[in-house]
Symmetry: C2
Subunit: 305 residues, 2 copies
DNA sequence: GCCTCGCATAGTCACAAGCTATAGAACAAT
DNA sequence: ATTGTTCTATAGCTTGTGACTATGCGAGGC
């Protein structure tokens, strides 16, 4: 059976055309080289060298074989490089799911950064309802999710990649538009627009329990799946809402965002299954963490100014 | 050092995902397979399989490596095929030189046939003066020459690939135009247009000695290198000439070709050096010989009709 | 004609690939 | 739980073969 050894020996001999020198380059002695070349020729059924006892030269077939075995080694080296890169998470494929409500904040930052640092990774991004995200991670359908911290995390790894306070959004001409900070107690009686508990349990529970803690039972007049839609509907005068601060980035002129007293902090996390061995997960998470540190640093810089 | 054996084992295991079955397919027992896979992983520095004691599956890197090693084996198989084809003379490069005077007869027939049968051979055709052809063969500059049989053939192999009688060409309005066959004795006093002895010794000597045998000393009034030019000049009334029959194929309306009594036969041969090991020479010569047999068969068919 | 060069052959050694036997983990069935 | 089954890994031995040294032998050079 022909092995890479035979091809290695052949190529060095083809380059030197001298058994002694080739053997020296290969760190073996001359007789085994003679023997291995003879075995190679026998296995191929083709004479690769014309050799008198004095001179060695390539046959036509040998010349051809020299060119072609170059491709064999290129392919082999490429295979090794790719395997290493893939194992390190520098190359491969990564499916990332994200909640639409992070599309104005951390998701673009993180994914742009990752794509720039790891161009050999084929990054597949898909907007997904929070409800489905955890399921996709469990099933292995997606590798990483960017979502609000889920309540049940058994078998999952999470890391915080974004934190922001919740704010209240007010419709045009609302009685509280003049205020700097709003106490939730003042929101009693307002119509609240909220995501359904089924779709985004963490977010829903956070808002409800925050209100209850401040003595208000929110009057949920409208259930809407997406944060963006909620803000739009507030703009249409359908009610008020408590949403993550980054929703301001929608820059909808009809709405007003106001800080809340003792505002709850919402946490966006990257989530992955700890027995999912796609090595790109590690590089992605590392990159996302760094992106968050950069954002935090930029914010404290802003505050100082 | 990683050998093809490791890659072969890896690929079968990657396909079966079962050490026992893979080992059986490879006609080895299971323990050495485990060991060789472990050695491969160690040499690469990459885990290729996730294996519990119970289940085997590919890692990301392993999946990638499986794809890439496919290319390694493709390249290797290609190299083997090409080496075999080259050794058999089915592929490669062949330089063929030919005299322009065969451009109306055997050269197109032979080369078209060869190109059709051996499409993988890169055939390099070059028109060459007979003088230079032998030299090109000796020096290895060309592999095969198509030419009139040379006088000195030491170190050369030759094979006849075409035979044709010489004919006399007459200018417009010549006194002998009405004759069916011409006796060379009747050509006494005519101006002969002949190739210089230096350029095509075989052809020159054949014509001169033929004339002498028939009691005529040819009056060489014009020396012209190429047969085609000679026929053209006969058409211009510059003299008469004795040329190979296939020169009729020029279809020059001003000239008249007449058979000669006891016409000498000119032989076109393929010539190659017997220590030139280009395997395409063998296939080319074989093909040329067959082409000649076909032409002969077609001729005797014509005569019968 | 002798010497040198350089590839091939002969004979020996050692390493590693392969074998058998078995341990030990994971899962299934009772 | 317990036992059986199914796999992979490990241990220890055997053997094939790649590599080494010594030498043969033909081709050129002096």
């Amino acid at each position: 059976m022909i092995e890479l050894r035979h091809l290695r020996y052949f190529r060095v001999l083809a380059e030197t055309l001298h058994f002694g020198k080739a053997a020296e380059l290969l760190h073996i002695s001359q007789p085994p080289l003679s023997r291995q070349i003879a075995l190679l020729e026998e296995a191929l059924g083709v004479k690769l060298f014309d050799r008198s006892r004095r001179r060695v030269e390539l046959t036509e077939a040998g010349r051809r074989f020299y060119l072609d075995t170059g491709a064999v080694f290129s392919a082999f080296e490429q295979a090794k490089r790719n395997a290493l890169a893939t194992a390190r998470g520098d190359a491969g494929e990564l499916s990332v799911g994200f909640m639409m409500s992070t599309a104005y904040s951390i998701t673009p930052t993180v994914t742009r950064r990752y794509a720039a640092h790891y161009p050999q990774v084929n990054l597949k991004l898909a907007e997904t309802l929070p409800l489905d995200l955890a399921e996709d991670i469990y099933s292995g359908n997606k590798d990483v999710a960017i979502m609000y911290r889920p309540q049940d995390c058994t078998g999952l790894e999470t890391i915080t990649i974004f934190r922001e306070p919740m704010m209240v959004v007010l419709p045009p001409g609302h009685r509280l538009r003049g205020r700097d900070v709003i106490d939730p107690a003042e929101l009693a009686g307002e119509i609240f627009i909220v995501t359904p508990k089924r779709i985004a349990p963490a977010l829903h529970d956070m808002i409800v329990s925050y209100c209850l803690q401040h003595g208000v039972t929110p009057n949920v007049g409208l259930e809407i799946n997406m944060q963006q839609s909620i803000v739009n509907l507030v703009g249409e005068g359908m009610g008020i809402a408590i949403v993550p601060r980054s929703m301001r980035n929608m820059r909808l002129s009809t709405t007003t965002f106001k800080p809340l007293k003792n505002a709850p902090i919402i946490e966006v996390v990257a989530v992955w299954k700890n027995d999912n061995h796609n090595p790109c997960i590690a590089t992605f998470v590392e990159s996302a963490e760094q992106a968050w540190r950069d954002v935090e640093a930029a914010w404290s810089e802003e505050e100082r100014c």
